[in-house]
Chain length 414, copies 2
């Protein structure tokens, strides 16, 4: 009942929200930012209820860290809304317009998607981000966060909706599903006609559950089994830097490298250097048979290791026969996220760029750059690993669709 | 077994197909066209098996008409391939490229989707069209036609694949699922990792079955409950022409009008004229209570009529209070396909364009123009009624995705 009712309210509000001016939406973003800053003590108090409960339930340190709101984090949420405010509004852009022989003028216009549902896990800052991104792009939003963050989410949504509705954002545009049972997700992802797109943000389990149950179109985000391939001809120091950066700069994120592929001709010289540096960074190595010959104290990798997104200080290592075998490995085991080659060979670079099937393919740079901010989009809603609608880092445009606007003078079809 | 095996073969072939040059693909299109022309008698003979079976099973005249292949239709299929050949190849286009502060050069490149599955009904020309569109865009294709056209489809696929593979299209790129049981669709739409997109082409029942079962991303096509709204201030002759054209020029297609909405102020003067002309065209009228007062011999419309896509010589008619009520009606009952207003009022025209939520919105023109050829795209894969990835008539670009190509000089993330 709650899910469908709230989705319907969002749908109704979406029609007026879609045609608000940019300045109305930007005013609301500024006011929402101010409201968060004004209510820092209240937000911290509500958040403490969630944190205490997580503590009591013995949840992991990592989860609790993601859950905690403090003054700095709340200020960062407000600042995030101002960053979104400062970006150009994509809605209303005429992408192209042309005239047909009979005089019909056809324009392709950028419009909001309508109602966007976000299903996510325990980070409460996602709540503020997602509301900001949706309001900026004229979309109503239905939020379904986890039970662990429910007090925080309720407080954030209450503060932000009051601010938004006070300056003309249509009442109903922002909805939080408070039913955090599994069933509420199941219901939400089948509301065709009310929800235009579902974006799951979280781990592989959450995404799988959404993909398997959804009848509403979805944008899959996140799972990254990323590779760095070190080619036979390359700058050795550059290869070392890129592999280490891709693995250890922030191992818990989706664009971190999980497997190193290295050409047989360079492995005896380079692999021990790379492994030494990785071990200095406490990275565990799981190698193929040939890797073990060069690095006798490495663990042996099994088939599962090639598929695994560790998100941890672990790196699988495989010695390969050149760029073709590297590409083949990546296209079999990869998740289509971010893939890099380190090479000084022109043809191998081009082959890798053309034949690796992934959202972002790099030559001589770390996979860690796959990110809306690093790409220059100013904001990010996640990184799509699917091919339909959005692929790679998603900016504001990915929360829009197009509509054909046709102006005639009485034309009929012969 | 057959479905997964063939999908896997398509997936394997898709990697080499994706990087073929435009001239290789165009040569194949020309050869496929010639092969169809060369085998006209064989195709007609195989088609006769399907037509005889449909006859024997007492299938409708309309179905048999869609099923029949004759010399003219086969030549039109070949000509369709040459039209596709003549279009520019969208694959490989760099849509944009920019440089980031650290020197990374990021390019957004258009690439094939990979493997496209088409699930369709009894028209065998869809088989040739879909193969042509996929080969042009570097996509492998898995076809799942209906049992009624199986002999025709097998013959078309055999002739076209032999021609294509003889000039370097990778063997495996074109697959026909010969198992026409319902189960083969169920299996196909769940092959994530092998199939990149499923496009159902057919009636509402087929599309619903695919939407409800698919875990692979889909592009919904086709269902069109389209409206013409005649505003209080308008050119009466133009309104008459547009309503009649939208209803009767070809009633069996998705962009034909199903409901006429007419402003109360103009109805007494204009509606009898429109209805008379429609009756001359054998159109049955189903009207709201107020319509019945003006047109006493019209049938009374019930709630279902506002939802119905007749695809027939039937028109629902409702008298409304101005443009707002028309927009409200359309956004409740419409399917987001094609919607038209006939008006000479500037503000009502703009309001209709902005507030109607549909793929194509018209001012003073017939809804019948929603079509890839009429829009100038040169080819059409169907008309998307969803908002993700593609909306409205789909041309070649809608069979592609993008990939970020990032060229660095050793950049790592700080």
């Amino acid at each position: 009942m709650e899910v469908k009712k709230k989705a319907r309210l969002a749908k109704e509000a979406s029609q007026s929200l879609a045609i608000l001016s940019s300045s109305q939406k930007d005013t609301a973003l500024e006011l929402m930012a101010q409201a968060l800053e004004k209510h820092i003590p209240d937000l911290i108090a509500e958040n403490k209820l969630d944190v205490d409960m997580a503590d009591k339930n013995g949840r992991s340190r990592a989860l609790i860290d993601r859950l905690i709101l403090n003054e700095e984090r709340i200020k960062a949420m407000a600042e995030g809304l101002r960053v979104i405010k400062a970006l150009p509004d994509p809605v209303g852009e005429i992408i192209s317009q042309w005239k047909r022989p009979k005089g019909l003028e056809i324009g392709q216009k950028r419009v909001p998607l309508g109602v966007v549902a976000i299903i996510y896990e325990s980070r409460p800052n996602v709540t503020a981000d997602a509301i900001g991104l949706c309001i900026k792009t004229g979309n109503a939003i239905v939020l379904r966060g986890s039970s662990e963050a429910i007090h925080s989410n309720k407080a954030i949504v209450k503060i932000m909706t009051e601010a938004a509705y006070s300056v003309g954002i249509p009442v109903g545009s922002i909805q939080l599903i408070e039913d955090t049972r599994r069933e509420s997700v199941q219901e939400l992802v089948k509301l065709n006609g009310l929800i235009d797109v579902v974006i799951p943000r979280g781990g592989a389990g959450l995404i799988k559950a959404v993909v398997e149950n959804a009848t509403v179109p979805i944008i899959e985000t996140g799972v990254g089994n990323c590779h760095v391939y070190v080619d036979g001809r390359c700058d050795l120091d550059m290869a070392l830097d890129i592999v280490v950066n891709a693995k250890v700069q922030r191992p818990g994120v989706c664009n971190a490298a999980e497997t190193l592929l290295i050409d047989r001709t360079i492995a005896p010289e380079l692999l021990p250097r790379i492994v030494e540096e990785l071990k200095n960074n406490k990275v565990e190595i799981r190698g193929c048979d040939e890797t073990i010959k060069l690095i006798p104290d490495a663990k042996a990798a099994c088939l599962e290791d090639w598929f695994e997104e560790y998100l941890d200080y672990i790196l699988a290592v495989r010695i390969v026969d050149g760029v073709e075998e590297a590409i083949e490995h990546i296209n079999i085991y990869g998740t289509g996220h971010s893939e890099a080659i380190v090479t000084s060979d022109y043809f191998n670079a081009e082959k890798f760029l053309n034949q690796v099937d992934a959202a972002a393919v790099y030559v001589n740079a770390s996979t860690r750059f796959t990110d809306g901010y690093e790409f220059g989009f100013g904001a990010e809603l996640g990184i799509s690993t699917q091919k339909l609608h959005a692929r790679g880092p998603m900016g504001l445009k990915e929360l829009t669709t197009i509509k054909y606007i046709v102006r005639g003078q009485g034309q009929i079809r012969e």
